[in-house]
C-alpha cells in the first residue's frame, strides 16, 4: 500500500462521509418539525473534515518517524549483522539499499546494498501498511465520532466557519513566514561568512577575486572579498547607465502620451510600451549579448577607445534601461495625471504654451511622484539578474569607462553559487552576504520611494 493510494483512500472516506452526513442531516431536518441550526451541507463538511484532517496529520507524523523505524528494523535484521561499524560507510550502503528498494536507482555500486535491498523493501512495506492502516482507522473513528454528533441542534456551521477563519489567517501568515525565511536565511549564512571575513573588509575592500580563495584556511583567502567593485558595477550599470536611458525615454513618453497624444494613440501605445516590461529578462540578456554588445564594442573600437570589451557595461546598462522604460513611464504617468486640473488651467490661462505648462508647472508639481518612480525603477534595476549575467562581465573592475567590463552583485551571486562547490566555503557564503546587501538596499529604496509617493499623493488630496 503506497502513500498515494492511502491518501486517495482517505479522501474517498472524506467524500463518503460528506455525502452520508449530509443525507442524515437532511433526513433529520425533514423528520423534526423545528428548523435545524445548520444547513445539511455544513454537517456534511463537518464530518468530512473530521474524517480527513486527523488522518492526514497522522500520515505526516508517521512519515517523519517511519524512516527511522525502517532503518532500525533493517539494522536489527540478520542480513545486516556484518555491516561495517563506521557510520559513514554504513550509511552509504544503507542509502544505496534504500535507493534500490525505492526503485530510484537500478544497480548498486556496493554488493552489500544489493543484499540488503529486499530486507529494506519488506521493512518499508511493513511500516507503510501499518501507517496506512492506522491512518484509515483514525479517519474512520474520527468520522464516526463526528457523524454521531449530527442533530438538528448541533452547530455544524459555526464549527466549519471557525476552521475556515483559521485557514484564512494561516494563509495570510505565509507572507510573514516568507519574509522571515528570507531575512533569517540571509542573516544566518552571512554571519557564517562574516566569521571568516571581516564585515569591514567585505564592505570597504576594493579587491574582489573569490576564485583565489577556494578554501577558507588557504593563505590569502581574506583580502579577496572586497565588494566595492561589485557595488560600483551595480550602481554604474543599474543606477547610472540604465537610468540615463530609461528616465528621458520613460518620462518623455509619459508626457507625450498623457498631454499630447489623442485618446486612440494612447489606448494603443500604452499597452504596447508595457510589453517591454513583460518580455522575460533572459530574452533581454540574449539580445544584449548577441546583438547590442558586439555593436557597442565595434563602435568603441571605431572611436579608438582603449580597453573596449565585448562585455561592456554600456551594452548591459542600455538594454536594462530599455526594460525599465515602462516602470518609469507608468509612474510618471500616474503622478502627472494626479496634478490637479486647476493648476494646469491656471498656467494655460496666463498664456503659457503647453510645453511651458508642463515644464514649469506640471513637472515640478509631479516631481516627488516621478522621483519615487525612479527610485523604484533603480531598485528593480539593481536586483535584475539575467541581463547582467549574460551581457556584463565577471571582471571586477573599478572603472568609469562604459566600454569596459564591470561586474555586478547579482552576476557574482550566480557565479558563486552555480557549479560544484562545498557549501561551507567562504566563496559560497559570500553569495549570501551579497544577497543580504542587495535585499537591504532594495528594501530601503522601496520604503523611501513608497513614502515619497504617499506624501505626494496626500499633498493633492
Amino acid at each position: 500500500m503506497n502513500l498515494t493510494a492511502t491518501i486517495l483512500l482517505i479522501f474517498g472516506l472524506g467524500g463518503i462521509s460528506l455525502l452520508s452526513a449530509r443525507a442524515k442531516a437532511a433526513a433529520q431536518a425533514r423528520a423534526a418539525q423545528t428548523r435545524p441550526h445548520s444547513l445539511p451541507g455544513y454537517h456534511g463538511w463537518y464530518v468530512a473534515l473530521w474524517a480527513v484532517l486527523p488522518a492526514l496529520a497522522f500520515l505526516v507524523l508517521w512519515g517523519s518517524v517511519s524512516g527511522g523505524l525502517v532503518t532500525q528494523t533493517v539494522l536489527e535484521s540478520p542480513a545486516a549483522a556484518d555491516l561495517p561499524a563506521v557510520p559513514m560507510e554504513r550509511n552509504a550502503i544503507l542509502s544505496e539499499a534504500r535507493g534500490l528498494a525505492d526503485g530510484s536507482i537500478e544497480a548498486a555500486f556496493n554488493p552489500r546494498a544489493t543484499e540488503l535491498a529486499p530486507v529494506y523493501r519488506s521493512a518499508q512495506q511493513f511500516y507503510a501498511v501499518i501507517g496506512g492502516g492506522v491512518a484509515l482507522l483514525l479517519g474512520f473513528a474520527c468520522g464516526a465520532f463526528a457523524f454521531s454528533r449530527i442533530s438538528p441542534q448541533f452547530r455544524a456551521r459555526t464549527r466549519v466557519e471557525r476552521l475556515t477563519m483559521g485557514v484564512l489567517l494561516v494563509a495570510s501568515l505565509i507572507a510573514i513566514l516568507t519574509t522571515l525565511g528570507i531575512i533569517l536565511s540571509l542573516l544566518f549564512e552571512s554571519l557564517r561568512f562574516f566569521s571568516m571575513v571581516s564585515p569591514i573588509e567585505f564592505l570597504f575592500g576594493t579587491t574582489w577575486s573569490p576564485q583565489t580563495a577556494i578554501r577558507a584556511d588557504q593563505a590569502g583567502s581574506s583580502g579577496a572579498f572586497g565588494a566595492i567593485p561589485l557595488f560600483w558595477g551595480t550602481i554604474f550599470i543599474g543606477a547610472i547607465i540604465a537610468m540615463l536611458v530609461a528616465i528621458p525615454l520613460g518620462l518623455m513618453s509619459a508626457i507625450y502620451l498623457t498631454q499630447y497624444a489623442d485618446a486612440r494613440v494612447r489606448k494603443w501605445m500604452k499597452p504596447l510600451l508595457e510589453v517591454l516590461a513583460g518580455v522575460p529578462t533572459v530574452v533581454y540578456g540574449y539580445f544584449a549579448a548577441l546583438t547590442v554588445a558586439p555593436a557597442v564594442r565595434d563602435f568603441a573600437v571605431m572611436l579608438g577607445i582603449p580597453g573596449a570589451s565585448s562585455e561592456s557595461a554600456l551594452a548591459a546598462g542600455a538594454v536594462m534601461g530599455i526594460m525599465i522604460i515602462p516602470f518609469v513611464s507608468s509612474m510618471a504617468d500616474d503622478s502627472i495625471t494626479a496634478v490637479p486640473q486647476a493648476m494646469r488651467d491656471g498656467s494655460l490661462a496666463l498664456g503659457a504654451t503647453k510645453s511651458e505648462t508642463i515644464k514649469k508647472v506640471l513637472l515640478p508639481a509631479a516631481l516627488p511622484g516621478v522621483v519615487g518612480g525612479v527610485l523604484l525603477a533603480v531598485s528593480r534595476a539593481i536586483g535584475e539578474t539575467m541581463i547582467v549575467v549574460m551581457a556584463a562581465g565577471l571582471a571586477a573592475n573599478l572603472t568609469a569607462n562604459p566600454f569596459q567590463s564591470v561586474t555586478t552583485v547579482t552576476t557574482q551571486i550566480v557565479q558563486l553559487l552555480t557549479g560544484d562547490q562545498e557549501f561551507d566555503s567562504a566563496k559560497t557564503l559570500a553569495a549570501f552576504a551579497l544577497g543580504l546587501v542587495l535585499f537591504v538596499v532594495t528594501l530601503l529604496l522601496n520604503i523611501v520611494a513608497l513614502r515619497v509617493v504617499k506624501k505626494y499623493r496626500e499633498a493633492y488630496e
Partner: protein, 429 residues
Amino acid sequence: MSDSLAAAPLAPAAPLTPTDWKADAMQRRIRRRYAAERRFRLIGLGAVILSAAFLAFLLVTMLGNGIRGFTQTEIRVEVDFPRSTLVLDPAAIEGFGAQAALAEADIEGIVLAAAEAQYGNLAPGLLSDGAWLRVRSRIAADPAMLNRTEVFWLPVADRIDVAAKGTGAAEAEAVYAQLRGAGAVRTGFNMNFLTGSDATDPTMVGIWGAFKGSLLTMLVTLALAFPVGVLAAVYLEEYAPRNRWTDFIEVSINNLAAVPSIIFGLLGLAVFLNTMNLPRSAPLVGGITLALMTMPVIVIAGRNAIKSVPPSIRDAALGIGASRIQVVFHHVLPLALPGILTGTIIGMARALGETAPLLMIGMRAFVATPPGGFTDPATVLPVQIFLWSDEVSRGFVEKTSAAIIVLLVFLLAMNGLAIYLRNKFERRW
C-alpha cells in the same frame, strides 16, 4: 530713512504702455516659444517611437534568427541493409531483448559507410552526430527493412545546416551547393525541435523536455500560490482587524512583491535544499520557490478585485441572514473572481519567464530526457534558453532564438487571455 519709506507708495507709477504684440521683438519671442513647443512635442513623440522601435527591433531580431531554428536540412542516405556489414537479425528486434540487440549493432558505422559510399570525399562531417539514432528508431519500428534497401532523410551536420540557411562558412556553402545540385538535400520543418530534449549537438536539440519542466513547475506554483494568495487576500480585505499585526502582514506582502527574484532563489537554496533536503533541480522545489514569488502578486490583485465589489452586495447578503463567511464565499468572491484570475495569470506569466531563482536551486543541469515527475531533475524554458545561449556552436544561435519565440508565444497567449478575461467579465459597478 523714514522719509523714503513713507514716500515710496506715493511715488508716481511708470506710465503703462500697452504691449505692442506686432513689434518685431515680440513676434520673434512668440516664434521662439512656439518653436520650443513644437520641439518639445517632437521629442516626446520621438521618445514613444524610439521605445516602440526598441521593442520592434528586439522582436524582429528574435524572429529573424529563430524562424530558421524551426527548419532543418536533411540529406538523403540510402542504406542497403542486406549488403551492409550490419549483424542484426530482424527476429531479434521483435519482442524481448530488442533494446539490447539494437544497442549491440554498429548502426552508426553502417550509416557512415553508406554516406561515404554515396558522397565520397564529402562524407566526413556531413551527417549530424546523432543522425544514426534516427535510423535506429526507424529499424526498431519496422525491422523488416533490414531485408531491403531503405532511403533515409537524416539531419545534416551543424555547419552544413547553417550553410543551407545562408550564414555558414564558404567551404561549407560550397559543399551544400554541390549537394543541392545533386538533389540530395531538402529543408523541412524540424519536428524534432518540438518533441525532443536537450542534446549536445544543435541539430538534435528539442524543447519538449524544457517545456514539460516548465509545465510541471507552473503546476506546483499555481497549486500553491493561487489558494494561499486568494485566501490571504480575502482575510486581509474582509476580516482582518485593523491593528499593528495586520499592518505588518501588509508591509511584508508589499515588500515581497518588490524583492529581487534572485533573493527568492537564495531562500530556496538555503531553506528547501540545504535545510529541508528536498531534491535539487526538481520542478517541486522550483515551483515552491516561484510560488513564494507569485503569491504577493496574487494577493495584491485579489485585494483590488475584492475591494471593487460594492459594499451593498455585502449588506444585502448580511441583511437576509448570511453569516460573514457565507457573504464572502457565496457572494463577494464569485464577483471578484475575474479580477483575481486576471492577476493570477499575469503573475503566472511572470513566473514562467523567470530564470534567476531557478538557477540558484540547480535547475540548470543538462537534462536529456523529459522529467517524469515532480521530483525528477528538470529544466525550464527560460533556463534552457540561458543554457543554449552559452553554447559556442553557431547552430545554437537559431535554436536559442526559436526557443525564445516559443516562450514569447506562450507569454503572449497568457497575457492575451488575461486581457480577454478582464474585458469580458470585469464589471464596473
